[in-house]
Symmetry: C2
Subunit: 314 residues, 2 copies
């Protein structure tokens, strides 16, 4: 059995053929052509799936289903994108459109939910039935799995843990609220925090790191901290504390088996994961009487969304 | 069919006989005798159930099941109280003990979860499958129902929304964390906020209200605000804002059909509920594209726990 997974982003669309074990047989990406309406974009996607089939020596008619992840509010029950700021879509009947364009059965879900589903089925959290994926990237995304099922609330409007308020009346967020978790724990926020610390300390090693790598990034403070720079260590410590704050909230509310950390920042590995696991578990209510919440790095990387989308139709 | 519901508290134990429609046939309460071990307390409870049966003219052997709510971490799958600070219990096999003492089938769950289950089955949120009960009392409790089932996380250690951090590095909470929601949104917190405002304004009407009612309470600011006192209005407004902050977090994470407000503070009715519904919904992500999250006052009052406990065995 072969399935197609599609991970739609505002800039690119990742597309792949995936087998029943979650292995990618062939994949590539195409540009998201925003000059086209959603039907035009769906035609581009189907054309690319045909191309991938040809390349992999697979008959297009052997593709059993197409799963699609879309950034925004996707009502997976009705197959409709209620709203996507990135794509400028509103009330788009995406599943029906994809089935018409492809002639193949389709499913759709929010992209963060797809990534969570991918990690649950084939990645970091196999065999755990209660897990939350948190992605630390441009924003903070989340996907929640309860008793082995994706949970995203009424009309799929939930699962937005990045917009938990952790600092009441704190920094202004794009969403209109103040003090949202993603305003402090995203890669974007880390870069902002790094810049502030650099401005305050002209002698920090972080300046050298930025010169060497050509630009400031979410890695800057981690690299300088590893080399012993005090200002960078402080940035990393504070940043991990912000991440931990939101994870403690999720831990006290959900007490899952594990929280999976994905997104670009998760590439820092144990320098990030180990202190997070300590901080989070020491913050959970009655922690000495309860099983630990494991904190685990995502293992599917930026293919989690694609693989998880394909897994929607398996 | 007759069921017994038991709501164990640190001071009193509410006990009732409940029919299949959630109607209380007979109820009373007994003291929680902390000089006894858990078996002694269970014997007291069973004795009281026999007494209630006698009073109501019901044969004890017609009681089909006993459900019990306990403050603390109750693993409802194993029937064990992992930990109860109020009762000083740890790893107590409560369901087995109750079945031995009574000769009747038993179930147990956390008390806030029982209250949520009671409101779901027979109270404010009948016919809604995704609801959260938030109780504003001494602390802030929560019970979560997803797709018609109680959700409380691995080993029933979740469902502790009162300990969400909403003010990072904020006020010290008993749980060890800083800035927990219950530190700002409980009745205890409201009284603290009222006292602070009174200290700052010796001319506020709140002083007169306290004299009239004999003591400061969670009602003081609401009463003075209704009579137009500016300082009291400010207290109420800020307090509602604190409640709304946590509810927005729950709304963005769960997007339930409704959030039910229980606990003593919920007696304020529309003066509390109406502004909360506005604030919460205007804070939800992409709110103009999603169904509203209704905010509703609890309807079973302080009997919700007892009725919900009985409903565990229905």
């Amino acid at each position: 059995m072969i399935y197609a997974g599609v991970d739609v982003g505002g800039t690119n669309i990742k597309i792949g053929l995936v087998d029943i074990k979650g292995t990618i047989i062939a994949d590539n990406y195409i540009k998201t052509d925003k000059t086209k309406d959603y039907k035009g974009i769906l035609d581009d996607i189907v054309e690319d799936i045909r191309l991938l089939c040809k390349k992999a020596g697979i008959d297009y008619h052997d593709v059993t289903g197409i799963g699609m992840g879309v950034p925004g509010v996707v009502d997976s029950r009705t197959g409709t994108v209620s709203y996507s700021a990135n794509l400028g879509w509103r009330d788009v009947p995406i599943v029906h459109g994809l089935e018409v364009a492809s002639g193949i059965r389709a499913e759709a879900a929010n992209d963060a939910n797809c990534a969570a589903w991918g990690e649950y089925k084939f990645g970091a959290s196999r065999s755990m039935d209660n897990v939350i994926l948190v992605t630390l990237g441009t924003g903070v995304g989340s996907g929640i799995i309860i008793d082995g099922k994706l949970f995203d609330g009424v009309a799929s409007a939930g699962g937005e843990a990045g917009h938990m308020i952790i600092v009441k009346d704190g920094k202004q967020c794009n969403c209109g609220l103040k003090g949202c978790w993603e305003r402090y724990a995203s890669a974007t926020a880390l870069i902002e925090q790094t810049q502030e610390a650099m401005d305050a300390d002209p002698h920090s090693l972080m300046h050298e790191v930025v010169r060497k790598y050509g630009k400031i990034s979410g890695r800057t403070a981690f690299i300088a901290a590893e080399r012993g720079d005090a200002a960078a260590k402080k940035v990393v410590e504070n940043y991990i504390d912000y991440i931990a704050t939101g994870l403690i909230n999720l831990g006290n509310i959900f007490h899952p088996n594990a929280i999976i950390i994905g997104g670009g920042v998760s590439n820092e590995g144990e320098a990030l994961i180990a202190p997070l696991e300590d901080k989070v578990n020491s913050g959970l209510l009655a922690n000495e009487h309860n099983p630990k919440v494991r904190i685990i790095g995502a293992t599917l990387g930026n293919k989690a969304g694609l693989i998880g989308a394909a897994a929607l139709v398996m």
